[in-house]
Amino acid sequence: MLTDQEREEIEAELPHYPRKQALCIEALKVVQRHRGWVDDEALRDVGGFLEMTEHEVDSVATFYNLIYRRKVGRNVIHLCDSVSCWVMGCDRICEHLKNSLGIEIGETSDDGRFTLLPIPCLGDCDKAPSMMIGRELFSDLTPEKVDEILRSRK
């Protein structure tokens, strides 16, 4: 079941749309914000509220890369791997992240602190290479800067 808090946050958006199914993506984002990721139960909870089957909700959830259908770490690192960042050396940053965390792209570190995922262009191309963790954007990355950022995250 959706928690009262989740329900309230989803309902706040209801008046903005003529059909409640339009809230599907928003509802998934709300649930993910509270639960960390979207498991099968979350699909049923959202579906129950929006009068959709869990499979309908899943077909939406699996389309969008920022809806996580697998458990993720406390910090999800989204490293930009688009063209401007590539020219400016994001491969090197990626190798550094993988070595420091002991994981490949798409994996979560054993201590559950970090998940490493690629992301299309973050619109920060004049300060490439860039990455995003949670709601925070980090620019002009160097391996040293990455170390510092990783250290500062619980």
Partner: protein
């Protein structure tokens, strides 16, 4: 030089709040329009201004608005949507406008909504733009409190409200009909066209979708008139453009310049030329899905018509520079990997063709390439070209590929016969 989009803002400065925006003449155009203009007149000024869409396709904005059914028998429900998805790789212009001058965008949207008589507007914002989200949400609240949004705006009898919709990722959401499906809460698969959104759009109702930069041009056009706007361009084309440069130049960044500013001036003067030790080899002029331009094009005026004549597209006007120490094949591989990953999967040429292209390019980079691969890549450029796929994503995806084959063929060949990449012989970590 006039800079209607950026004259009051600076990168890194806090956004103009409502009071500051009004001190710059903000919302005067809206007051004027609501007081003394018919909706159709607003559309006519925009038509006369010859403003072309800044989201990539360059469609005439006023003409698009004129397709919306008007009058007594037109549907009451209509929608005005701002495309703030900005996911075209190498593009970072809309974010700047939203984060620094959010009311300019809101005023443009309200004027557009008035022109087509739409009671509801949405800003479709990409998920990753958290700062833009905060700034816009605050600006919308300010505008509502001041009576620029809501019922009976400025006592004109016109109702309009704007809702901020944040996305959940995927580049295809920027394609306007995919965007409409995403706004409806569905998978963002493009829709068949015709019918076009101005007639059948969001929930089947007439809908206008315009880019952020396009809409930021509306208030100054309404305030200063079509002739003023036409006078801003250096060439035949009207207005200014936000041009951006990234890559190994001295000062990567973004500048508002007259439409038609020569490529050389943008790269050498504004971006400060190439970094010490690097030479210019080419540029993708308007985001990932445009054809390379090379040295012979440096004196090209960067406007829609001139860039098209040179075989590419102005696109978003934000360019990515290729230098002489970066492998063109590697760069194209990066681009095609992006497109393969972001294909929505609806139609076969795109869903299956792009991963194939990616594999071939990967193979070439690793030294497994052969002469026939060039033919295979050429073929794909054709089979994924205009008219063969369900939307414009795939044709865009092969633009950098087909032009790289044309301008950098020699570089492809230098990879053949087991040689691998002559530019990046060591693994990534060692670079």
């Amino acid at each position: 030089m006039e800079k209607p989009l950026t004259e009051h803002i600076q990168p890194g400065e806090p956004p103009l709040d409502l009071a500051a925006y009004e001190r710059t003449g903000g919302y005067e155009a809206l007051r004027d329009a609501l007081r003394s203009m018919e909706p159709r007149e607003v559309t006519r000024i925009v038509e006369d201004s010859k403003l072309r869409g800044r989201g990539g396709a360059g469609f005439f904005t006023g003409m698009k608005w004129s397709f919306v059914p008007m009058g007594e028998n037109a549907p009451r429900e209509k929608y005005f949507v701002c495309n703030a998805d900005e996911m075209e790789p190498g593009t970072f212009k809309d974010r700047y406008l939203m984060e620094c001058n959010p009311h300019l965008l809101l005023e443009g949207m309200i004027l557009g909504a008035f022109a087509i008589q739409a009671p509801t507007g949405y800003i479709f914002l990409r998920a990753e733009y958290h700062k833009s989200e905060e700034v816009l949400a605050h600006a919308i609240r300010e505008a509502r409190e001041a009576g620029f949004l809501g019922k009976n705006i400025l006592d004109s009898g016109f109702d309009h409200d704007i809702h901020l919709h944040t996305s959940a990722g995927r580049y295809i959401c920027g394609e306007e009909t995919a965007l409409l499906n995403a706004l409806e809460g569905r998978r963002a698969i493009p829709r068949a066209k015709p019918p076009f959104p101005p007639v059948v759009g969001l929930w089947g109702k007439p809908t206008i979708v315009n880019n952020v930069e396009t809409l930021c041009n509306i208030p100054p056009i309404v305030r200063n008139g079509a002739d003023w706007f036409k006078g801003l361009g250096l060439s035949e084309e009207a207005g200014t453009k936000l041009y951006g440069v990234s890559g190994r130049v001295n000062r990567p960044g973004m500048w508002e310049l007259p439409l038609g500013t020569p490529l050389r001036e943008i790269i050498e003067e504004h971006a400060g030329g190439m970094r010490e030790g690097y030479r210019f080899r080419g540029v993708i002029p308007g985001g990932a899905s445009t054809d390379f331009l090379v040295e012979e094009h440096l004196d090209l005026p960067m406007d829609f018509a001139s860039v098209q004549k040179a075989g590419s597209r102005l696109g978003t006007g934000t360019m990515i520079v290729l230098d002489d120490r970066t492998c063109p094949v590697g760069m194209v591989l990066n681009l095609e990997r992006f497109f393969a990953r972001e294909s929505c999967g609806w139609c076969t040429p795109c869903r299956d063709g792009l991963p194939w292209v990616e594999k071939i390019l990967e193979d070439i980079e690793r030294g497994g390439g052969r002469e026939d691969d060039l033919g295979l890549l050429q073929e794909h450029s054709k089979f994924l070209g205009p008219g063969r796929t369900f939307c414009a994503f795939a044709p865009g995806a092969v633009e950098p590929l087909q032009s790289a084959l044309k301008y950098f063929e020699e570089d492809f060949r230098r990879h053949f016969d087991g040689k691998g990449c002559p530019y990046h012989p060591q693994p990534a970590a060692a670079r």
